[in-house]
Subunit: 247 residues, 2 copies
DNA sequence: GCCCGTCGTTGCGCCAGCGCAAAGAGACAG
DNA sequence: CTGTCTCTTTGCGCTGGCGCAACGACGGGC
């Protein structure tokens, strides 16, 4: 962990200025924010913070990605979401609670900015615009979780997997020939933990879709070949035809 | 709907002063807040606001209760939560989104205070303490929904029903002889919509628990006789003995 | 180039929970 | 008191998805 050097400042200012939490904040305030941050390069396979521990740091990803998980009583892992560059983690812990409600796993080489809980609360108090942004941020997240809660309560597994893939396409999709690659390591187990099912079921569903030409999958890799096909599955519409996805 | 009269002011000030959103706010600000509210008596079986409609009003319950539901694609209803006196609804809609993410059904005779979206946003801007309270409120709600998401993803039906009952006991429990009554009309269908299952399964589970003396249930009525028994079920512990609940 | 560890696939058996139908039980109106 | 409406119970059959086991495939390290 190191104090942020002046050379990095401009890039960080841009990153934060474009983030949901700090967007619209005056440049000078942003400079203050950056000045009070600590930068960290996370090692892979080590948690940046851990569920149940006292909430000490607020976190924004600079490069790389975090995976936020919760643990069930029986040890089953649930993936809440992924956090990409410019996005925040541990908002809950710092704004409301005393402990982290989730564990954050960093992808190899992930760089993060960290602010102590006290710093963050002081910033919120000093800059009302920041508090409003935070309110919007947390609200949006609440909306999304409620949505997923409803899905989990009312929809079948295949439908939920389709939705999860569509979300990942939006979040980490990269156009490649023949479709959209979900540009991150994504195991069957990951998809299962996102959708409340098992890796076996995910494997079966993906195999089925592969045989229908909707996706193409390999080890920790998924390419969506016919997004409309997934949308049809997610919305429970009559299956689309192979020609439907021409763009 | 009527402007708030001066006679009601004191009670309303107390109610709001004790609420999570307005707690700690100076008395004079609170007076301003009350002055800008409209009071409404909701008819039963009519929605106070409806999922998907433009978000127009922020809402705090004075007396009675709201039931917040979301609709699935196939028409299945999911209950997000109940809103009691002093609690807020439509926070999301007003703080972040353009439309209500849920429908609010009022119990018969429920009285609510309403503020227009614009008023609410003006209040937030004018009083930073309010924004911080709102942030805390929404954060707490997010924490709870994430928790329930995890439960839905990892736990069995009986376990989830046990948790739902325990939450309701905390929220609307009233001590009666032989146990704690959940003091509101609560159908099997309601419990099913809270836990992502069907009324049949809820009925079977409750029957089983009734035969074990853990609960006692009637039409839209549940009395928890041995809370520890439910806790054991919720935490997946070895079943407690009938004597365990002596207090 | 080989080995080993991790990830993915697939067949098989099983069971938790669903869906329906038919009947029972309160509650409320008239 | 009676009829009706809604809520609840329970039996029965079914199936979506789970859990395991065995095997296969890929990839990184040495």
């Amino acid at each position: 962990m190191a104090a942020v050097g002046p050379s990095a400042d401009v890039q960080l200012l841009d990153l934060l200025g474009a983030s949901q939490l700090f967007h619209g904040v005056e440049r000078e305030v942003l400079a203050e924010v950056v000045a009070r941050a600590r930068e960290q390069r996370a090692e892979a396979d080590r948690a940046v913070f851990t569920e149940g521990e006292p909430a000490a740091w607020f976190c924004v990803v600079v490069t790389g990605r975090l995976k936020l998980t919760q643990l069930g009583l029986d040890g089953t892992e649930v993936i809440l979401r992924f956090v990409g560059p410019g996005e925040a983690a541990a908002a809950l812990a710092v704004f409301e609670g005393a402990v982290y409600p989730a564990t954050a796993w960093a992808e190899r080489g992930t760089r993060t900015l960290l602010w102590s809980r006290e710093t963050m609360q002081a910033l919120l108090r000093a800059h009302p615009a920041l508090a409003l942004n935070a309110l919007e941020l947390v609200s949006g997240r609440l909306r999304e979780v409620q949505e997923r809660f409803r899905e989990l309560a009312t929809e079948r597994v295949a439908q939920r997997i389709a939705r999860a893939l569509l979300r990942l396409v939006r979040q980490a999709g990269r156009k490649v020939e023949g479709g959209v690659l979900i540009d991150m390591p994504l195991s069957r187990q990951d998809l299962a933990a996102m959708t409340g099912t098992t890796l076996f079921t995910v494997s079966r569903v993906l195999s089925e879709w592969e045989s229908q030409g909707i996706v193409e999958s390999a080890r920790e890799r998924v390419v969506v070949k016919r997004p409309h096909g997934l949308v049809a599955l997610a919305e429970d519409l009559p299956p689309s035809q192979p020609g439907d996805d021409r763009q």
